[in-house]
């Protein structure tokens, strides 16, 4: 076991993947000498060379479009999109090309491309640097969408994403990049598969569903709820498409109450899909409607207001209280 920040864990995972498979490439803006604006690729160009860690021109569609071509030639590119709000120039390549190539080719062509996207707010950033665009991609068939929440998963999930023969949109909670935790650097073979959720805190009274940055928020809320003698279960979804409905169903049937917590706007957010599916599967177990806590139906606000926009411990507990009021 080694103690690493989430950013460093990703770096170690990328390094391991590159060591094990010479076809793995990294490409993106400033990923070389600088090591990426969050230093996730720090030192990799020095060790693996410029032809495997590619500093690209500044154009996101170009990054993903050429990654598709490299994948067609047998490579496994890992693209870095510098910030969530900058993925949209690449959205066309991701949605119309990357997601559909397997089906269009009747499975003859595989595109094992990983698109890494730092996402979410809470770092006092300027506009377009704090967004949560995950549902644009969960809505697109052909993509796998995952989000890591902590260093241990970051290390294994990035390697699993690279090994996966499907395109993977890999969300990284940017305000948790500097959080530290223990990481087992040999733990890949025993790691939980990428498309499975995990109960990160067992409980009996209500289920909190979270992913990425809000997992920590929910754990803090669950700790605070103990003071009210409420035993909350926290589930880290990890995979946003597909959803691990079996684990989610099991948890909600047990607790009878559920609150979904994400930074993305509540309207048409992943919580809407979860609420519908949980209602279908757990209807007779539910003591209250599935509630959602998340961003408002507004653009992401200026940094001085973001603490009002982001789900925090109090807003999560407020929603928990409301589920108990039914």
């Amino acid at each position: 076991m080694t103690t690493l920040t989430l950013a460093r864990a990703l770096n170690e995972g990328l390094r391991k993947a590159m060591e094990e498979d010479p076809k793995v490439l990294i490409m993106g803006e400033d990923v070389g000498k600088l090591g990426g604006v969050f230093r996730v690729t720090d030192g990799l160009q020095k060790d693996f060379g410029e032809s495997r860690v590619i500093d690209t021109p500044l154009a996101e569609s170009g990054i993903v479009g050429t990654a598709i071509g490299l994948a067609l030639r047998g490579y496994r590119p890992v693209c870095e999109i510098q910030f969530d709000g900058f993925v949209f120039p690449a959205a066309d390549q991701i949605i119309t090309q990357l997601a559909k190539m397997s089906m269009r080719s009747l499975g003859r062509l595989r595109l094992p491309v990983v698109v890494r996207i730092p996402f979410g707010g809470g770092i006092g950033a300027v506009e377009h640097h704090s967004e949560s665009p995950e549902v644009y991609f969960t809505h697109t068939a052909g993509l796998r969408v995952v989000a890591c929440a902590g260093p241990a998963d970051a290390y294994t999930m990035i390697q699993q994403a690279i090994r996966c023969d499907d395109p993977v949109i890999f969300f990284e909670p940017k305000r948790r990049y500097w959080d530290k935790a223990e990481v087992d650097l040999d733990g890949l073979e025993n790691a939980l598969p990428m498309d499975r959720a995990r109960v990160v805190r067992p409980g009996t009274d209500a289920t909190l569903l979270a992913y990425g940055p809000t997992v920590k928020t929910c754990l803090e809320a669950a700790a605070a709820a103990e003071a009210d003698s409420r035993d909350l279960e926290v589930v880290d979804l990890r995979s946003l498409n597909p959803l691990d409905m079996d684990l989610i169903t099991e948890s909600v049937r047990k607790t009878g109450r559920c609150v979904v917590v994400h930074e993305a706007p509540v309207f048409s957010g992943l919580g809407a899909e979860l609420a519908a599916r949980i209602t279908e599967r757990c209807f007779y177990s539910l003591e209250a409607p599935v509630l959602r806590v998340g961003g408002f139906a507004t653009p992401y606000p200026p940094a001085r207001l973001e603490e009002h926009y982001l789900p925090d411990l109090d807003r999560v507990l407020d929603a928990v209280d409301r589920t108990f009021a039914y």
Partner: protein, 363 residues
Amino acid sequence: MIIDASRGAQAPSELVQLLTPEGERVEHPDYDIDLTPEEVRGLYRDLVLVRRIDLEAVALQRQGELGLWASLLGQEAAQVGSGRALSDADMVFPTYREHGVAWCRNVDPVKLLALFRGVTHGGWDPKEHNFHLYTIVIGSQALHAVGYAMGIQRDGAEAAVIAYFGDGASSQGDVNEAFIWASVFNAPVVFFCQNNQWAISAPLEKQTRIPLYRRAAGFGFPGVRVDGNDVFACLAVTRKALADAREGQGPTLIEAFTYRMGAHTTSDDPTRYRIADELEAWKLKDPIERVKAYLVKNRLADRDYFESVALEADELSKDLRQRCLEMPDPAPSAIFEHVYAEPHSLLREEREQYAAYLEGFEG
């Protein structure tokens, strides 16, 4: 100031031409080609058969057997000339109109029909033919081509990539990004732009103020304009560009100056936006007639030869029609196939639910 935005669309003076519309062989200082009589006859046969496939497909669409067809009428020389310049190891990234290039890559034409009939979004094995699937989103494939070329570089292989697109696509961000990537990474790629003068209803001057091939200079690689209705010139220019790419000289932009004789697709009505005179003028530059004239003038083919090609075209189209009509619809379960390489729980659930729903109608 009045800007003459049509300047870029004027008839070019820098056009590489090796065979005039009258079938006269002409010299060019930078490009030459030495073809045996058999090779010339082979190109003629390609042009005729490709046009026939296209005409049959248009007829099938008109009879309701295809949902849509994008005709290549008038662009046969650009496609056959460039297609026959390729080596087996070279990789092709086509648009949705490259039926002539598909022919050169030995893709069974019925597989092109399968796509437009709505049986599949793909239809052939791109690896078997080194001919990628048709790309319908305009210009997206230019970036795939450059990425593939970057892979060739990393493999140390002796091969090149050719990216097809049109004058309309030259306005797309992806095509311009592809130019930048290819230039910065010196990728072994040839950009083959068929300037057929029309992007559905938008004439060339809506896309550019300068001749398209001159854009290459701004990106830092050579651009050349070739008579797109001259199969000899298209072959010679593409051969040179591919050889340069394979030898590490980087990208070339080829602008094949041609004309879309038909509609954009079978859903289009060009009489709403272009005049008949223009079509008549281009008819005189027909890509097939000039090769025929050359063969006749030089006594390289006789009446029997032309009749045998015509007969082959008849048989090809008859066979194509029959196989198109016999093509079965896929089973409903095909909707769920190949969306992912690895098992996906949501898809499995939906497939099972829909199968159960369909079973409810049986018995």
